[in-house]
Amino acid sequence: MGKEMKEKNFDLKIEERGDVKILKMKGYLDAYTSLQFEEKMKELVESGNYKIVVNMKNLSYISSAGFGVFMAFVDEVRKNGGDIKFCCLPEKIDEIFELLGFKHIFEVLNDENKAIESFEKLGVKNAKKRKK
C-alpha cells in the first residue's frame, strides 16, 4: 500500500439558463466525491429542478458510483417532465458511456447550447400538449 500522489478533487459549478440547470463538472467523480455530488443532486431535485444538463468537459474520471448518482435521480426527474442530459464528453468518458450502455439511457450531446435548446423544444412541445 502506498500513497496517492495527486489530490483527486471534484468540483461542481451550477449555472442556470432559464429553468435549465447546467452542472459543470471538474476533476474526479469517484466513489468518495460521488457522495458529495449525490448530496448536491438531492438538493437540486428536491427543490424542483428537473431539467439538468451535465457538462463533463473538464471531468477527468467518472466511476461506476458516479454513474449511480444519475441513475438514482433519473426516474424522478423524468416523472416530473424533466431529464438529465450530458454534453461535451471527453473521449475517455464517452468510451465508458458507450461501453456501459449509458447512451441508450441518456441523451448525450456535443454542445452545451444544443443540450439546453433541446430542453426548450421539450418545453414548447409540452406547452402544445397542454393547449390541446
Binding site: E4, A31, S60
Partner: protein, 671 residues
Amino acid sequence: MNEKNQKIFSLGQILLAFGLAFILLAISLVKKIFPFPVFDVASNILFSALLITLILIVQPFAQKFERNPIDGMKFILIFLIPLVGLSFTFKNLIHTQKEGEIVTLISYSDIIASNIYNFVYAFLLSIIFSIFLKILFYERGKEVKLKFIAILLYFVAGELIREILDLSGFLSQLMMLLQVILFMWISFRIPWVISLSKKDKHKALFFSFFSILFLFLLQSPFITGNAAEGMRFYSAFFFSFTHFYLQPFLIIYFFFVFGSTIFHLPTGEIYERKIAELSTLQNIGKLVAQVFDVREFTETAVKIAMEITNSKSAWVEINISGAGDIYAKSGIMESDMLKLMEKVSPIKDKFLNQNSDFGFHIENFDDGTIFIAPLIAHGKISGFLYLLKKRESFNQDEINLALTFADQIAIGAENSRLIQESIEKERLSREFELARQMQKKLLPKDLPKLEKFEIAALSIPAFEVGGDYYDFVLHENGNISLIIADVSGKGVSAAFYMAEMKGIFQSLAKIYPFPFDFLIKVNETIYGHIDKKFFITLIYAYLDLRKNLIHIARAGHPPPVLVKNGILKFLKIPGVGVGLISNSSFQKFLKPLKLKLKKNDMLVFYSDGIIEAMNEENEEFGYERLEKVIINGMAKSSDDVVKMIYDEVIKHQNEVKQVDDITIIALKCKK
C-alpha cells in the same frame, strides 16, 4: 476485657499476685503488732514483686496501644478516674493516728481496708504505667528506652539511699529536683503529636489536660488523705513510686503533650491537607489508569474534588465527541446546578473564546463562591470543573489543587475516550476481516480443470471487501459457464450485491445456460429490486466444449480481449449494464456473440480496476498497456498471462494505493 486477653493472662501470674497480696496482708497485720523495720523492708520487696507481676499481667491489654497514643491517653484518663474515686472513698474508710513522727493505722479493719485499697490501686496503676510506656516509646528509638531505664534506676537508687542514709531535707529535695529534670529530659520530644489530625489533636489536648488534673488530685492529700497514709504504711516504696515517680512523671509528660499539641495545633490543618493532597493525587493517578467508563470516572473524580478543596458541592461537565455532555455532580441538586450554570455561562463562553492561558475563574455571588476551571486535553477545552462554597472563599492551596485536579480529569476523560475509540476500531477491523474472509469464500476455491482449455483467474479487492466477482458453473453435459462481474460502488454495499450476484448466477446459469436468456433473467431479477444507484456490469460466457464454441454476452462491462491467430481484438459486444434499464429496452440492446475457438486462441476478461489503475500522475493504465502485455504474453500459458497483466498494473501504479478491485481471467484453448 475480652476473651482473647483472658486466655493470654497467665493463671500462674494471677495466683502469684494474689499469693503475694495475702503475704503482704499478713505482714501488715504483723507490722501492726510488732512495728520492726525489718517488716517494712520485707513488705517493700514483696510489693515490688507484686507490682511487677501485675504489670506483666496487664501487658496484653497495654499491647493494644502500641501504635495508638491517643487511645492510650484516653484509657489512662479512664483508669485515672476510678483511681481518684478509690482514693477518695478509702480516705474515709481508713483511720490513722499519729504517734510522734510515725503514723499508724488504728484498727485491724483499717489494715484490711488499706490492703484492699493498695491492691486495687496497684492493679489500676500497673495498667496506667504499661499504657504510658507504650506512649512514651512510640515513634522513638532505643535511646529513649535507655533514658527510661536510667531514670528508673535513679529513682530506685534514690529511694535506697534515702532509706539507708536518712538524708537531710535539702539533699532529698535536690534529688527530687533532679528527678523532675530527668522527667522533663525524657519527655521533651513527642514526635507523634505533629502527625496528628486536627481532631486527634483536640482529643490529645482534652485527655492530657484532664489526666494532669486527676494526677494532681491523686497527689493532693485533700483527696487521698488517710488513704495515702495507709499506702505509706502498707509499703513506703509504693508510696514513693506513685507520689514521687509515676505521677510526677505522668504530669510532666502530659504537660509536654499538652504544650506541644498546642504548639502544633495551627499546623494541624496544613499537615492534614498535605497528606490528603498526596493521597488524593495518588488515588486520581490510579483512577486515571483504571477507569474505562467516562461517567464512572467523573463521578468519582467529582467527589474527590469536593473533598480536597473543602467545597460544599462540585460538578463536572465534559463534552466528548460522541458522548455528549456528561454531568457528574456531588452535593447539589440538579435544578440548583442548572440554575448556577445558566448564571455562569458567560464565563464559560469567555473560556471557550480564548486560545491559550486558560487559567480559572472565581465568581462571588449571594452567599457563596463558585470556582470554574476548564478541563484541557490536547490544548482544547473538553469541559469544565465547578466547585462551590457557601460563605467561604477558596485559598491558594485549594485553587492549585483544583487546577491539578482539572488536568487530571481532562486526561482521564481523554484516555477513556481513546480507549473507547480503539476498542471500536478494533471491533470494526475484526468485522471487516470477517467480511473479507466471507467474501473470499464467494469466489471459486478451485478453477475448473478442463481437457481443452486452461483457465487462470485472479481477484484482489481494493478494500477489505469489494464488488468484483467471478465464478464458474459446471453443467451436467460437461459444458461450462463463466461470469465476471463488477458491482458499482465500493466496500460493504458492493459486497452485499456481489453476494446476491453469486446466488443469481449459480441458480440461473443452470436453467438458462445461453447468454441471452441468462442476461434477460438476471436483469429481470435485479432491475427495480436493488437500490437505483447500484448496477452491475458483467460478461457471461457459455463454453461448449465439444464444439469448441463460446457464446459470450457483455452487459456494460469492459470488453473482453480475444487473441486469435496472433491478432488481438477488444470484443465490444453490444449490451447495457444490468439493473440500469427495464427488460424491454435491455433485450433490445443485448446482442451476444458466438465464437469458434481454435488451438492457442485466448480470451482475457478483466474488471475496470485494470484499465483505471492510476499512477502518481493520475495516468490510467488504459487499454493500450493492456493490449501490449497480452501481445507479449500471447504465447504463454493463461496463468502466465494473468500474472503478467497483474505485475504490469502493479508496476504502473508504483507507489500509489490500489483504489479499485482488480480481477483478471484468462482462458486459453489448448486443442
